[in-house]
């Protein structure tokens, strides 16, 4: 499914619950022209900027990282993380490419509890 198809599907789903999710109203809230949002949904233009994708994610209660990935983008904060230690993160990501989800969730950094 393309980025545009997904946005359209999610927005339409929400519009069935509330008219506040018409193309016009959503476009207004994320500060783009309704015609532009309509073109995005019909895959007539490439996916929008990261800023607009983040606004769409917030508006449609979607995960911004997932939407960015569907748009073929990597968020600026993730790019910055990789740029700071490119070798280590490249190595890490390649090693984890095939790791199952439970293994990935065990890699999450924990907040350390100390002596108090």
């Amino acid at each position: 499914m393309t980025f545009g198809d997904h946005i359209r599907e999610v927005r339409e789903q929400r519009r069935r619950e509330s008219t506040a999710f018409s193309v016009r109203q959503v476009a207004q809230r994320i500060e783009v022209e309704p015609a532009y949002l309509s073109k995005i949904e019909r895959n007539l233009v490439p996916p929008p900027s990261e800023r607009t994708i983040r606004r769409l994610a917030e508006e449609l209660h979607e995960d911004p990282d997932v939407l960015l990935a569907m748009a073929g983008k990597v968020s600026l904060d993730l790019q910055e993380i990789i740029r700071r230690r490119p070798r280590r993160f490249a190595e890490l990501l390649r090693q984890l490419r095939e790791a199952p989800d439970p293994a990935l969730s065990r890699l999450v950094r924990e907040v350390r509890d100390g002596d108090w």
Binding site: V108, R109, E110, V111, R112, D113, G114, D115, W116
Partner: protein, 330 residues
């Protein structure tokens, strides 16, 4: 286990139940007038940034490394409230400077039923301060350690710990399945070069009075998985030194309550009449608020310590719901 996900502490207990998780955030807010009148709940003005102590250990006091946990920037006399989210029942202990914010007793890791020294999630959506009386709290206000304002110093006479301490206990899985699982029978829940010693530690002092109920535990002590807990020490770094330690700018100073109210923005009242509430802790009721202490010390209170003659212009009444919104904007 506890993860720091951007500005949210996520507590998970997969060893107890796959759904056993909750989130805790620290909300920036207005400092309510410290005038001994009770005020409605102030809004959330966004979350405080949270950072791992370990990432800045060389620029922070050695004690902070020993404690572990996270830190966040607060301006002197800035207020906060704690936002709890999640549907799985949890017992949460909150202490300031290792003084329990609910019972007023010295902090211990374990849960105590009498007096109850923990809040019960998801019934308790937030905690704004020290529980001083039934239905009344004194707002959490950041003050430097060593000047006698914090609850810790007023109760113990010593400025030793500062910060906030959290301990979370999940409900036993069997209890959850039997009584509370949503949809089944039971209750429906709706490089910067700062010398470490230059970093001023802060603690939480009691500020103005606010209307907030702390709910009694309806499940009983046996409902909680007391062999499993997660603890987090949340250090408070004076915003004036935040940039020197982290290189990042601290959030801007919050507006005053007067400024906020003048703009016609809302305050909040939240009341769940169906639940029993705690009576308030005597040791906490005896504490001097920041303004009262300043008067005793012969200092001038801050201009926003003096109170406002008028009631807030807009008060929104909130009812128990799983998706409570208490957002402010300014």
């Amino acid at each position: 286990m506890i993860e720091l996900n951007r500005e949210t502490l996520r507590f998970r207990f997969p060893e107890v139940h796959s759904e056993a998780n909750c989130s805790i955030e620290f909300q920036r807010t207005l400092r309510i007038p410290d005038d001994n009148n009770s005020h409605p709940l102030p809004p959330g003005l966004g979350t405080f940034p949270l950072l791992h102590v370990d990432d800045f250990a060389d620029r922070l006091p050695a004690d902070w490394s020993r404690h572990g946990g996270v830190f966040m920037p607060m301006y002197q006399a800035e207020a906060l409230w704690i936002l709890f989210s999640g549907g799985y029942p949890m017992a949460v202990k909150v202490a300031a400077g290792k003084i329990d914010a609910i019972s007023g007793l010295p902090f211990r890791n374990e849960l105590t039923a009498k007096p109850q020294d923990y809040a019960v999630l998801p019934d308790q959506p937030w905690l704004d301060g020290f529980c001083v009386q039934e239905g009344l709290i004194r707002q959490f206000v950041a003050m430097p350690l060593g000047q006698g304002y914090t609850a810790e110093e007023q109760i113990t006479g010593v400025a030793e710990h500062g910060g906030l301490q959290l301990v979370v206990y999940p409900m036993k899985a069997a209890e959850y399945e039997r009584r509370l699982r949503p949809g089944e029978a039971g209750v429906a829940y709706a490089d910067y070069g700062v010398a470490p010693q230059a970093v001023a530690d802060m603690g939480l002092a009691p500020g103005g009075l606010m209307r907030q109920q702390i709910y009694e535990d309806e499940h009983g002590l046996d409902a909680w998985e007391q062999d499993v807990r997660s603890r987090c020490f949340v250090h408070l770094l004076n915003s004036a030194t935040f940039r020197q330690v982290t290189g990042a700018a601290p959030p801007h100073e919050p507006p005053t309550a007067d400024d906020y109210d003048r703009c016609g923005l809302p305050w909040f009242d939240y009341y769940d009449g169906d639940r029993e509430t705690l009576a308030g802790a005597k040791p906490l009721a005896r504490l001097d608020s920041v303004a009262a202490r300043k008067v005793k010390e012969g200092e001038e209170p801050r201009t926003d310590d003096g109170g406002r003659p008028k009631q807030p212009r807009r008060i929104l009444k909130l009812v128990p719901d799983r998706n409570l919104v208490r957002e402010g904007c300014f």
